[in-house]
Symmetry: C2
Subunit: 278 residues, 2 copies
């Protein structure tokens, strides 16, 4: 059912890369899972990390520098892919659409709707799969984070699953995809022209429409080249303030959009999550 692509001991735990045939996407899907040493003795909380445009599971697995903190704190770390892949999966010119750019929605428009069902995949199929396969995962103690498009994913998934996640954070997230070029391009392809349908996949719109989480932590590089055009953190600042959601938003001087930024602050996010996981 789940094929072990690779397994390596790291930081006292097990870094797995796994593959399975997804019902949601109708394709094979590859993901990584780090089990900290504590998972050999008992149950551990699960942090899901959603990656950004162009990434697979491998980017954060190689460059995220999360294992030391996860091993210290006793956290499992799950990193799915960002889109379906393979023969017959629709694609289009450009790295911000199609392969590597699933935007964590269930596409309703052809040709995308055949396989681009990343919402169902990350919210239902994948958590059920890892829970069934790895008894050490305490699915009642979950947190979620992500980067850029994956920050969008983490925020929207958490906002639409109140109570499932003890903590939600993001690195340089696209907070209002309906209002920015990356999101407008993706949503018009995947969800069609009716912008009302986009609101369920837009963190700022979800908050405006009444969705709530207790707190959100966001770090953004002040030197991020996508800051003003695509990320627009001021939009979630305003929405969270209006809604009374605690928002910890750090603008990090000198940092860009890369894993050099993420890896600097990911351990801090994991510590913050652990404190909220109790």
């Amino acid at each position: 059912m789940v094929e072990v692509v690779s397994e390596a001991r790291s930081h006292g735990g097990r870094q797995l890369v796994l593959r399975h045939d997804s019902r949601a996407t109708g394709t094979p899907m590859t993901f990584s899972l780090f089990l900290p040493p504590q998972a050999e003795q008992g149950r551990v909380p699960l942090v899901t990390y959603l990656s950004g445009l162009t990434c697979t599971h491998a980017n954060v697995t190689d460059k995220g520098e999360y294992r030391a903190a996860c091993a210290e704190l006793g956290l499992a770390f799950l990193a799915p892919d960002t889109s379906p892949r393979g023969d017959g999966v629709a694609d289009e010119e450009g790295w911000d659409i199609g392969l590597g750019a699933g935007f964590y929605v269930d596409a309703t428009e052809a040709p995308w709707s055949a396989h681009y069902r990343m919402w169902s995949y990350v919210t239902e199929e994948l958590p059920a799969l890892v829970a069934a396969e790895y008894a050490a995962l305490d699915m009642s103690a979950q947190a979620i984070t992500g980067h850029s498009m994956g920050g969008h994913g983490a925020l929207t998934v958490a906002l639409r699953h109140p109570g499932r996640f003890h903590a939600v954070s993001a690195f340089a997230p696209i907070v209002a995809p309906s209002e920015v070029p990356w999101g407008e391009k993706a949503f018009s392809r995947y969800l069609g022209p009716d912008r009302a349908a986009w609101r369920a996949h837009d963190a700022v719109a979800l908050i405006e429409d009444g969705a709530r989480v207790p707190a959100i932590r966001i770090d953004i590089g002040a030197a991020d080249p996508f800051l003003e055009r695509e990320l627009r953190p001021e939009r979630i600042e305003a929405a969270a303030a209006d809604a009374g959601i605690e928002l910890i938003l750090e603008r990090r001087s000198g940092y860009d959009h890369s894993y050099f930024f993420i890896s600097t602050f990911l351990a801090e996010h994991l510590r913050w999550m652990k404190s909220r996981l109790g």
Copy 2:
């Protein structure tokens, strides 16, 4: 003179990737240099990391997880490439020879001798270059480490430069290349059939021939698939014991040859180096 290929803020410091035209190799050479935050206030020790077969500067830069510890300890971290590259550089079928496999020697045999001068590059040209370009580097406070072929490089460079390095360590090093398939293949190509010439590039032979360092730290994964055939740590255990060199050799249960292993223990090596740098 030195071209900045990329620069990113990370862990409070600067992760640079740099390129220059090497006199030693007669080719452009790319390397990475991490300057910790302490380098903005004063001088910092320099740790050189020599990579293994098939690698460029990028493997450890992406996967080594050294920046957090370097930023905490105030250590700069220099990662050169493993061979010359480019048009006209000799190569041969196989990932253990030619491109990505320079073995840190100055080749004396054609066609390799035209460009494969990694010994001169890592012991002379590159240190002089970074010292001239980055005044924050304290070249009187150096340490060296490396992985696999790069562990061989680190050990031989330190043994032949007594006093230059306050600390030398290695991950899964090839300690006796003259006696194992990888080394025999490379040395016979690069240095010719006279095995006497190989001894200057063989850590165990150097120790047998009188070279000394105060101490060596080595970590090897007990599940490393190359352990018995290529790495043979018992050879340096015997040589160090005979020579009275302090050898801290840790066999790490369950760990393999990958960066999942290196990244687990690199911070410990950096702490050990820092303690010896005073």
